[in-house]
């Protein structure tokens, strides 16, 4: 199973690299779809069907909206000139590499192996799922133990819709 996961991850990396260097924006968006649908297969391989369902639907809707935006605006990308010299970019790259290496070296020593959730809350959730009465563990956590988080997510979506309507509306609603 792990070899399939590695193949999917490599494919996703190639898809994102191609979408960075594509000539026009339409092929960039479509090759970005490789990343999304590769993520769906990765979720299925990791046995997370809840996440896979959400990801596949969101990916389709996002792709439709992005293609509609590109069809209405332009397919050419703006040319951007380099603002700094190559030396500064290389220096920043080196610094970030060293910082990430040190951080991951410190963090990965204190974690349990991949796939073995040893945190205290995770074991408490899996053992206390019968208290919520839900057969689906994920829904039991999201709407039972973590209902405050769900309220926050719904509020974020509501705020996003308000923002979209406020920015896109040109005329007032009552007075023309």
């Amino acid at each position: 199973m792990e070899i399939y996961l590695i193949i999917m991850l490599v494919l996703m990396i190639f898809g994102s690299l191609y979408s960075l260097h594509a000539k026009d924006l339409l092929s960039a968006v479509i090759s970005y779809g490789i990343v999304g649908f590769g993520l769906v297969i990765s979720f299925l391989l990791l046995q997370a069907p809840d996440l896979a369902i959400v990801q596949v639907v969101i990916e389709i809707v996002t792709l439709v909206i992005m293609i509609a935006v590109i069809k209405d605006t332009t397919e050419k990308e703006d040319k951007q000139t380099a603002r700094f010299s190559q030396f500064i970019y290389l220096l920043v790259l080196l610094l970030f590499t060293i910082a990430f290496y040190l951080a991951f070296d410190k963090i990965s020593g204190s974690l349990s192996p991949f796939g073995q959730h040893a945190t205290r809350m995770a074991t408490a959730y899996t053992q206390g799922v019968h208290e919520t009465g839900s057969a689906n563990l994920v829904t039991g956590v999201v709407f039972g133990f973590r209902a405050y988080d769900t309220l926050g997510e719904a509020t974020v979506l509501f705020t996003a819709v308000i923002g979209v309507l406020t920015i896109l509306r040109l005329k007032g609603k009552k007075g023309e």
Binding site: V54, V57, V61, A68, G140, F143, A147, F158, V164, L165
Partner: protein, 146 residues
């Protein structure tokens, strides 16, 4: 916005109700099978988006639908908080989001107390939100063109 050919329209007429029904199934069985309010809500919204893309001429009617969708969305958020408040008032433990209804047998459709209710409310909210964003993108673009 122009619609598409008659082949696309007829196929959409067959497909869109099935997609909508599947979204309702995902929402109602969220506490038993994979899925839930968020996934089912987006599936229901995608049925509406398919209809709008196929039949573009119904756009004039959509201007009236938009305020209804906003009402639905705001009402769903309010309902979520009200259900949480019922948990605060009616339960014996006095906790926000307390699951005070009888849990029932695990695995049955009518079980898990308040979780199916919360699933339905969140599904309504997500469906209204995504459809509102898409309708706003389509309708206000036409206003710019005028």
């Amino acid at each position: 916005m122009k619609g598409m050919t008659i082949i696309v329209r007829k196929v959409t007429q067959f497909i869109a109700p099935i997609i909508f029904l599947f979204g309702i199934y995902i929402v109602f069985y969220g506490h038993l099978t994979p899925g839930g309010g968020f996934a089912g809500g987006v599936i229901m919204a995608s049925a509406f988006i398919l209809q709008i893309l196929a039949n573009g001429e119904i756009l004039d009617k959509l201007r009236k639908e938009e305020s209804g969708l906003e009402f639905l969305e705001s009402g769903a958020i309010l309902g979520f908080i009200i259900i949480a408040g019922f948990g605060l008032i009616l339960s014996s433990s006095f906790v926000f989001f307390s699951n005070f209804i009888n849990k029932g047998v695990i695995g049955k459709l009518l079980s898990a107390g308040m979780i199916p209710l919360e699933n339905i409310i969140v599904g309504t909210e997500v469906c209204a939100a995504i459809t509102t964003i898409f309708i706003a993108l389509v309708v206000y673009k036409d206003e710019v063109a005028l």
